[in-house]
């Protein structure tokens, strides 16, 4: 990835529960819609039959949007880095909704959150995997399975982290570069995650972008954050963090394969953003997109 160039989709929006009306009434404000499928189904557990129950209202809306615009799938539930668990049922479910909604591509996070066991445990936060050869091989094998099962491109997103394990064999950009080159997955580069990590761990985002193979980046995420316990967090709080706009310009200038820029915000920020705020963030992103894409 991206051995086959992806279509230029433009500027899009990550769907959340406050957006159904916006999606219908402001369809001109975004070029595509990205959905988190895990929030639109009920998962009764890996041993349940049937395992998944999708929310009819959400999927009705997605089908209507799909008639006019591309959809992207951004899952949060695979936990691809879990050493003791690879959820084939989750991959099957992504394939089922891909068949129905025909995503341009689908993605998940380069992290782990689930532990297997009689009672599976979920950390409720994406934890970083160690950037070691052992983990690279583990994830490459899983990407191979996903790409064989789901007939559209697959991307993995760089993670945000608040603790930093010492003595890892590779840096994060080096791990991402090798993973993309050797597995065929693309990179979903979350610029806010880069900014968050740079602030909390004392490096410059520019150095991260310099080390990353930007030719492998297919999609960008932009968002805002918040302060917590002396850290800056990836809270998706309100508008895009101001420094991220500069990173977006730098990245689009240097990354010709980028096909999409997605604005993310948490639904709890809606009272702050309101409709006008969402439109303003999308318009800002579009002005930058139009200059470089």
């Amino acid at each position: 990835m991206p051995s086959v160039p992806q279509p230029k989709l433009g500027v899009g929006l990550l769907f959340n529960p406050v957006l159904p009306e916006f999606v219908t009434s402001h369809a001109d404000a975004f070029d595509y819609l990205e959905i988190i499928p895990d929030r639109e189904w009920s998962d009764r557990g890996v041993d349940a039959t049937p395992r998944y129950a999708t929310l009819d209202a959400s999927f009705d809306l997605f089908r209507r949007v799909r008639e006019r615009k591309p959809l992207l799938c951004h899952s949060i539930g695979l936990s691809i880095g879990s050493a003791g668990l690879f959820d084939l049922g989750h991959v099957d479910q992504i394939n089922r909704i891909q068949t129905e909604l025909d995503f341009a591509w689908h993605s998940d996070h380069l992290s782990f959150a689930r532990l297997p066991g009689e009672h599976e445990m979920h950390t409720a936060i994406s934890m970083p995997v160690p950037y070691d050869q052992e983990v690279l091989q583990l994830i490459k094998d899983r990407v191979e399975h996903i790409r064989a099962e789901v007939p559209c491109p697959f991307l993995l997103e760089n993670n945000v982290y608040y603790v930093d394990a010492p003595d890892q064999e590779m840096s994060e950009p080096e791990f991402l570069n090798r993973l993309a080159r050797e597995s065929g997955c693309g990179i979903l580069l979350d610029l806010h995650n880069v900014y968050v990590n740079s602030r909390n761990h004392g490096f410059t985002p520019e150095s991260f972008l310099r080390d990353l193979d930007l030719s492998q980046v297919v999609e960008l995420h932009i968002a805002g954050g918040d302060d917590l316990l002396g850290f800056y967090t990836d809270a998706h709080a309100g508008p895009v963090a101001e420094p991220v706009w500069g990173l977006l310009e730098d990245t689009l200038r240097a990354a010709p394969a980028v096909s999409a820029v997605t604005f993310e915000f948490h639904e709890s920020s809606y009272p702050m953003l309101k409709t006008e705020g969402i439109v303003a963030e999308l318009s800002h992103a579009r002005r930058i997109w139009d200059r470089y894409a």
Binding site: P17, D38, S42, D43, R44, G45, A53, L55, D56, S82, A83, G84, F112, L115, P116, H119, E120, M121, H122, T123, A124, I125, M127, P130, E134, V135, L138, Y161, Y162, V163, D164, A165, P166, D167, N200, L228, L229, G230, F231, T233
Partner: protein, 204 residues
């Protein structure tokens, strides 16, 4: 499966500050870890970012409950935090799925109410109402539910919709509120005693 053991310790440290303290004090006693993994875990356990992980873990576990049981969370007020501590202590996080977490918390909270560890004039009836609504959003049958209220549900739910306590207090009594999703969107209406008895009567 050394990596699996590493990930398990890391996850448990995120979920529990007490586990983290125990690991820092007795890390030599944790089996299955390589010297490098022990070194990494000792290092991250002592980093201030681990407190951020735990805070986000708690906030994200709270989110499904707040989303599906907002009135119940409001009514619990200052009891909410200690109730969640007990709930999370008993039930490690298995899923962020709304239905799973909501169902488990409903069961737990009913036990807390029965034993008197949690109190509140309206908590039980509002909890059962919100649980029924959550199940109906997933189109779980039966699509006609009847929730018994011990107070007039109309002023009670109207006040809670504004995240306020009803003032004056709703009239006590025996009320049956129907939530009817058989035609699609939910329709709410208070049943007469006779209608409630008919709907609630066991089918032969």
């Amino acid at each position: 499966m050394s990596l699996a053991a590493y990930q398990e310790v890391l996850c448990r440290m995120v979920a529990s500050a007490a586990y983290r303290e125990r690991f820092l004090a007795q890390s030599d006693e944790f089996p299955g870890l390589t010297p490098l993994e022990l070194h990494r875990l000792r290092t991250v356990a002592a980093q201030p970012g681990m407190r951020v992980n735990t805070a986000i873990h708690r906030a994200n576990r709270m989110a499904p409950l707040h989303q599906t049981l907002p009135f119940t969370c409001f009514l619990l007020g200052e009891q909410l935090r200690e109730t969640l501590d007990r709930f999370w202590g008993l039930y490690p996080s298995e899923s962020l799925q709304l239905d799973t977490e909501c169902g488990r918390f409903t069961h737990f909270l009913m036990e807390e109410l029965n034993t008197g560890r949690v109190t509140g004039a309206y908590v039980e009836e509002v909890l059962l109402f919100e649980r029924a609504c959550a199940e109906l959003r997933l189109r779980k049958p039966p699509l006609l539910r009847v929730v018994r209220f011990r107070h007039d549900p109309e002023p009670l739910l109207a006040a809670l919709a504004q995240l306020e306590l009803p003032d004056p207090a709703p009239e006590p009594g025996d009320y049956h509120l129907a939530i009817d999703c058989r035609q699609g969107d939910a329709d709410f209406y208070v049943l007469s005693d006779q209608a409630a008895a008919t709907i609630l009567a066991p089918r032969s």
